[in-house]
Amino acid sequence: MREEKQLRISHVGLRGVVGAGMTAAHVLDFASAFGTFLGSGPVVVARDPRASGRMILEGVLAGLAACGHDVVSLGIVSTPVLQHAIRRLDAAGGISIGASHNRAEWNALKFFGPRGVYLSTAEAGELLDVYHLRKFDFVEWSRLGTVREETGAIDPYLDELAGAFDLKALRRFKVVVDCCNGTSSLILRRLNERFGWNILLINERIEGVEFAHEPATNARTVSLQLAPLIRPLGADAGFLFDVDSDRVAIATDEGRALSEEMVLPMLADYLLPHGPGKLVITNLSTTALVDEVAEKNRGRVIRVPVGRQAAMDALQSYRPEQIAIAGEGSGAVMMPQFRFVYDGIASMLAILSMMLERGRKLSEIVAAYPAYSILKAELPLAAQRIPELMASLAERNASGRVNLLDGVRVDYPGKWFHVRVSQTEPIVRVIAEQRGEPPQDLFDGVMEHVRSYL
């Protein structure tokens, strides 16, 4: 059993197990650093339902107010709703408190700049410098920021979605959703109320301590409770969201749990013909099906290192209209019409729109794609042996197309593998994929080589 790291402070923000790693002191310092780093102007704050979120929220409010920022506190809402509110309120930035797909004992701070975009790597580096210096721009007593609570942030967000999707036409579908006790429940309840939808919600109770199951978006979690419900209920589709609703996983009308890798290729296939964007931005570990789909639609795939930060930096290298879609194999997908925000709810609406437009069942749409088989594993490895491992892997696979942007990725005809180091845990991730049957020989060979460095 490997020991998980309990605190991680990086360009992605602050993340840890509350109490064991992440403390009130970290929160105060990070919020004060962000308040110092940001220019003047209001800051929007939201949290997911974790019990520790209330403690963290109080620290965030204190740090921001001490730096003279007025704060709009949205309460418990999803990260995409927060990002929408930052833009709507023309705020200087925002902080999302929540650990997304991690277990309940984790929590994290994520930072957004104006218009709700994640900080670039350069900005995040500056924030980290302020945090480490601990020289904060506290204002004098008469200029402290004030906190205003705003409870209705979901409605304007839904209004924007209503402008992009035909919510009236889409409500014909019978949909079941596993909310993982998270924020999607609040949004979808409101969608039902305001737009006459009839989505059936499970695990819809907002829960701070114990989620019904691990809130990760993948085929395994979908098959726990959601997939078995689909056929008995005669539903057209099932969706599962992580706690902060930025990721989605899917069950078909036949009750089959789809691989999380399928969300991006399906949405690329739907959005590329709508144009004008022709670029699909994804990471080196995402399925090759996305290349096949892009080729069919005359699009181009840009592969970047794994992690949100690399994707954000890549997005800034292109004009928005050049991009069709960006995302990863985890079910996190962003579309240009939604401010380039990872948004699980918008992804769900796009999948339903695809079903409507094609007049096909979800299982029929899925069946039209060639099968890809993916094998994944993770191994603990001493940090000092990693460069040696990577160099030897690249050398042994010189006959393939070698990419060293993020660990080692090697492409062979019809199959590929990727070995990289996790950004959040002290492990090496191995992933191999092949069109058709599982790439067992390739995978075993790589695993054997990696193990020889343990």
Partner: protein, 452 residues
């Protein structure tokens, strides 16, 4: 040049100028130390109306939750109301965010135990050690508890306790015309309710908007209550009350608009209390001898303590006193309500006295023995304090003295008390005598000795 104490972390808690000194980090860490010290459980948090209050309350709430405490937010309230609420609920402690009578740029954390009392000397030292050790309880997600709000109950509980000790109907029948200066403080809303609705007074109030800044020097003294005096005179009020921002201190104006000496206010309240409750009296060393005369009239004893509410309260507990307080700063402590300074007890007792006797405030004050008092201060350089105090001791070789807090020297014509301030490098002088000329002689002798 005397160093200003912009931040003080000590046995009485943490106090400082908000901005670069009293930071949210410090407030959060101190609250987490407090939460660790009281071992989780329910902690009540309230504040006065300073602009830094909400920011610091977020920081304190963060620290308490991180220590595994359940937080009860009582919002803006007077400090005594918060203490009484802590005492009447099953809370493990309380924190009031208030710098009491200090200027608006200051704030502080006042800490209370499970009985709603200031921590005693030993508890304060333990907490301070814990803070410095920084080994706090760090609650995990399943140990982090809720934040509850309770805005209605605390004032009601406070009123109930006070009203048990006065004849409410008699006061209401008189429909006394009362002036109030609430300094836009934590008692603003509550005092209006107390005086006009509960006690049926005809109220003329100024500075009772808790959203506005303090309109005057926050400490209620004769020289800071000019507006109250004018209000009382203009409206023909029978009495005027001046509060501090956290509603623990009280100053009083008579029907002519003259603001009474705070020692006389205490004396009137002690007199009223001893009429109703038997017991001894505890005051600090600087409080006027008028208290001794009043206590003697009732056949009661007066105990003297070092300056500071906590010191007075500790002795009051030990001797089961009926009433106590600190004269010069307008603090009235009546344990039958609660062992804390409470302006509401003072207001109720004085109105009750007026209703019972039919006398005016100036007539009541005129009934007190007359003493002449003078307060002042002398700056000193670090390292010189011992020499100065020794010189003072040597110049009155045969007089009885009390060294429990600085030096108090008793002379046939009166007394002089000299003590170093806890917060600034100054000596505070207080002198009292039976005649004005004796006072001037005594004060002049001591101050010239110290300034030499």
């Amino acid at each position: 040049m005397a160093r200003e104490h912009l931040l003080k972390i000590g046995v009485s808690g943490i106090r400082g100028v908000v901005g670069g000194f009293l930071t949210p980090q410090l407030a959060c860490a101190f609250a987490q130390a407090f939460g660790t010290y009281v071992r989780g459980g329910r902690v009540v948090v309230g504040r006065d109306t300073r602009s830094s209050g909400p920011m610091l309350q977020h920081a304190v709430t963060c620290g308490l939750l991180a220590a595994g405490c359940e937080v009860v937010d009582v919002g803006v309230l007077p400090t005594p109301t918060i203490q009484i609420f802590v005492n009447s609920t099953r809370a493990r402690g309380g924190i009031a965010l208030t710098a009491s009578h200090n200027p608006p740029e200051y704030n502080a954390l006042k800490l209370f135990n499970d009985r709603g009392l200031f921590f005693n000397h030993y508890e304060r030292n333990e907490l301070l050690d814990l803070y410095h050790e920084s080994e706090f309880t760090e609650a995990t997600n399943d140990e982090i508890r809720r934040v509850l709000s309770e805005y209605e109950t605390p004032p009601r509980l406070h009123f109930e306790r006070v009203l048990k000790h006065v004849d409410v109907e008699a006061i209401r029948r008189k429909r006394i015309r009362v002036g109030l200066d609430g300094v836009n403080g934590g008692g603003s809303v509550m005092s209006v309710r107390f005086l006009s609705e509960v006690l049926g007074c005809e109220l003329h109030a100024i500075s009772v908007d808790p959203t506005k800044p303090f309109p005057r020097v926050a400490e209620p003294r004769p020289d800071t209550l000019g507006e109250l005096a004018a209000l009382v005179a203009r409206q023909g009020c029978a009495i005027g009350f001046g509060q501090d921002p956290d509603g623990d201190r009280l100053a009083v104006a008579d029907e002519t608009g003259r603001v009474l000496d705070n020692d006389d206010v205490l004396a009137l309240v002690v007199d009223a209390a001893l009429e109703r409750v038997p017991g001894d009296v505890v005051v600090n060393l600087t409080t006027s001898s008028v208290i001794d005369d009043v206590a003697a009239k009732h056949g009661r004893r007066v105990y003297r303590t070092p300056v500071g509410e906590a010191n007075v309260v500790e002795t009051m507990q030990a001797v089961h006193a009926a009433i106590g307080g600190e004269g010069s700063n307008g603090g009235i402590i009546f344990p039958a309500v609660h062992l804390c300074r409470d302006s509401y007890t003072g207001m109720a007792f004085l109105l009750d006295r007026m209703a019972q006797t039919g006398l005016t405030v100036s007539q009541l004050a005129a009934g007190l023995p007359r003493y002449y008092r003078k307060l002042g201060k002398v700056a000193f350089e670090h390292g010189r304090l011992g020499i100065m105090m020794q010189a003072l001791e040597d110049s009155f070789p045969d007089a009885p003295r009390d060294r429990s807090d600085g030096l108090k020297i008793h002379l046939p014509e009166g007394w002089i008390h000299v003590r170093a301030s806890n917060t600034e490098p100054i000596l505070r002088l207080a002198a009292e005598a039976k005649t004005e000329s004796a006072l001037e002689g005594l004060y002049g002798q001591v101050s010239s000795l110290l300034e030499r």
